[in-house]
């Protein structure tokens, strides 16, 4: 965990350093927007992003320099299959991160903004395990299919999750073409839903009591953290 935080710090500070050289920031010196600036604030752009919901893209509409509406989507799927005949138990881990978001940015300052909205959260993490070899219990040979398999899935408690965050930078450049923003926030997806299925001799492991226990254990994990790095291009 410490390593993850260090990497995040290093990455973010590195990007901040780059951003500090960006033209947009160099031009900004006053907090109050002029009427001309406000008039120029209307715009439309496209952004690409890398977030804890996966990589994705956004359409950004700037109402004025203070408010921006963002409609985006992300998708990421990773499947790891452990398939080794020399191991007694094989399995797979499947992480599916995907979302559709509709957010509103409010710039408190030129480069500092608050963001909020709704995310349709389709995240799902699954684990599957199954034996590969016949095992011997006493004098009995038990086939893998008799032993059965175990499937575990976690989904957000609510698919439609409110989101709030704070960010640095701009999702859509005020005057130029390219802009960059980083953003941290939280999607409040409620108590995660757990699916637990087991077959064969393991079937009782997938009981409702066990499923409920796991769900209770995960109940405090009701916030999904958002960290978003976004590069945007204004074309209107």
């Amino acid at each position: 965990m410490k390593r993850l935080i260090i990497i995040l710090f290093a990455s973010v500070f590195g990007l901040i350093s780059l951003q500090s050289h960006a033209q947009e920031l160099q031009e900004e010196s006053a907090y109050e927007y002029t009427e001309d600036e406000i008039r120029q604030g209307f715009g439309l752009g496209l952004g690409v992003k890398l977030s804890t919901f996966g990589p994705g893209a956004e359409i950004i509409a700037a109402i004025n320099p203070t408010f921006q509406v963002r409609l985006g989507g992300t998708y990421f799927n990773y499947k790891y299959t452990h398939d080794d005949e020399n191991i007694d138990v094989n399995g797979s881990a499947d992480a599916n991160l995907s979302s559709v978001s509709l957010l509103l940015n409010f710039h408190l300052a030129r480069v500092f903004f608050l963001s909020g909205g709704l995310i349709y959260n389709m995240n799902e993490i699954g684990l599957n395990g199954f034996p590969t070899k016949t095992i011997t219990i006493g004098a009995m040979e038990v086939q893998p299919e008799q032993i059965g398999s175990l499937d575990f899935k976690v989904k957000p408690g609510s698919s439609l999750t409110p989101y709030a965050g704070i960010g640095l930078g701009r999702s859509l450049s005020k005057n130029g073409v390219v802009s960059f923003a980083i953003e941290a926030g939280a999607a409040f997806h409620g108590k995660p839903k757990v699916e637990l299925k087991a077959t064969g001799m393991l079937e009782p492991t997938g009981s409702e009591e066990q499923r409920q226990l796991l769900e209770d254990n995960l109940s405090s994990f009701n916030i999904y953290p958002m960290l978003n790095f976004q590069l945007s291009f204004r074309f209107l």
């Binding site: 965990m1 920031l25 009995m140 008799q146 980083i182 941290a184 393991l202 009782p204 254990n217 405090s220």
Partner: protein, 544 residues
Amino acid sequence: MKTHKILSYSAIILLLAGLMFSSSCNKLKDAADGAKLIIDYNLIETTIDVQFYDAATGELIGRNDDMSVNARITGRDSEGVMDVTGVQHQSMQYASQRGMLGLALLPNSSFTPSLTKPISFNVVGNVPGYLATSQKVTLVAPGRTQIRVNMVRLDNPPEGVTVSRETGVSSAIAGRVENPATVQTPGGRARIELPAGIVLRDAGGEPLSGSLNMTVVHFDNTVEEALASFPGGLMPTVTRSDGSAEDGMFYSAGFVAIELTDASGRQAATFEDGTISLEAIINPQTFNPETNGNVAAGDQVPLWSYNENTGEWKEEGVANIIQNGGELTSTVELTHLSYYNFDWFYGDYCFEGVPFVFSITNPTCDCYVMQGAMYRQIDNSFMTYVYMWVCGDEPVYTQYAPSGVPVYIEWQDDYYNNITIAPASQPTLIDDLCSGTPVQVNVVSQPSNGITIEVEVYCASEPNVIIRPSFGAWYRGVNDWNWRWAEMVNGYAEICDVEVGQTYVVGIYYDNDWYETEVTVTQESYSYVGFELPADVCSEVFGF
């Protein structure tokens, strides 16, 4: 100033992000707290619950945990027998606990019983102070089977069994008997004459030496208690003189068990340079199936030897019945020492007999055992004990039933489950157990309540792995001695007529050991029982 602002904002963002990630990871780490790997130990399809009873007292042998019956599995399909946990001992010897033994057949193997491939084996019981005995088990379908083995305690035999135990009847040097000896049971029911000069050897060919002790036990075939404790039972598989094996039923004229040992406990099995004479009184009330009447002088009866160590019967010839004073007697010259049986033998069986349909006045909360004893109609002679596991209206098929023999069954009331037999069905007459005509038995029962008992076993080294057994569990009131059986599936057993507030002892047989615990029923519908398995069992059976 601008740089300072940027750094401040960045710090806030990163602090927030870091806290969220850190918090989330901690929660994930605890996600599996309390979760267990629960295993349904439901591999076994066929179980055989064996109960060893003292023939005189009717009590389970070792019910106080003071002795254990050594049960050896022999016979054609003995290799398919294991104990109910799945452990198969190389020696094929298992130990009863509290008089009970849980056996099973290897699942998914060639030992799955069917009508086309019945599984047959013997349970041979030995315990110090009792006469060795055996019971043949024949199975034609998977499921649950219960058998009862009555054993004769030599210093307290049941009615109809007479015992003579004499020490120092003679002596032997290098196997050769020095002085002749005669031993007879009380009333002279059986008499053994041991001549001088005969050479005695044990089964391994070693000569007996020193002081000789002899035990002679006679079973009167006209007394039900004696017949019910007949070593080897009355429906055996025998080896004919030509070596062929045959299933059948004994019409008994008496049984004599002989044990001759030296001071070191070596038991005589064979002898040379002479024969040992056995004279037995034949009860004149004995039914001769060849004449369809009582036995008479001049009749002949086949003689069978019984190997008490393997449970095997062998045809030995024919004995003549003569009038000897006021008694009918038969005298035979023995060429080897074992148990001997004067019996007519008829063999005709069907593997699946008539279906029994139990009509009950009030449904019970769970399946229940109907127990009884089967008798031949023609001579009222005890044949075998009957155990039927009744579940609702499902018919119960008799297995390995004698064909064409009119019988009747006297049922035993089950007071614990408030089940009694309707007078019209007591006894239940059956003309032919192989006819296919359903037999209806009317049962009177009181409304009953049941509770669910959840049974889990676990190993201390792997507390998060729970095993839910699927075999029989036993329970009894804490002040009661009669165990009641409950079928357990995936760790759950439905048991009837237990009282809230009462304490019960719940036990399971597991790998030659007995585990029991007391449970006070505190709820009307549910109780939990957990058994911790010893480390050696965890290691041997589950590899923990």
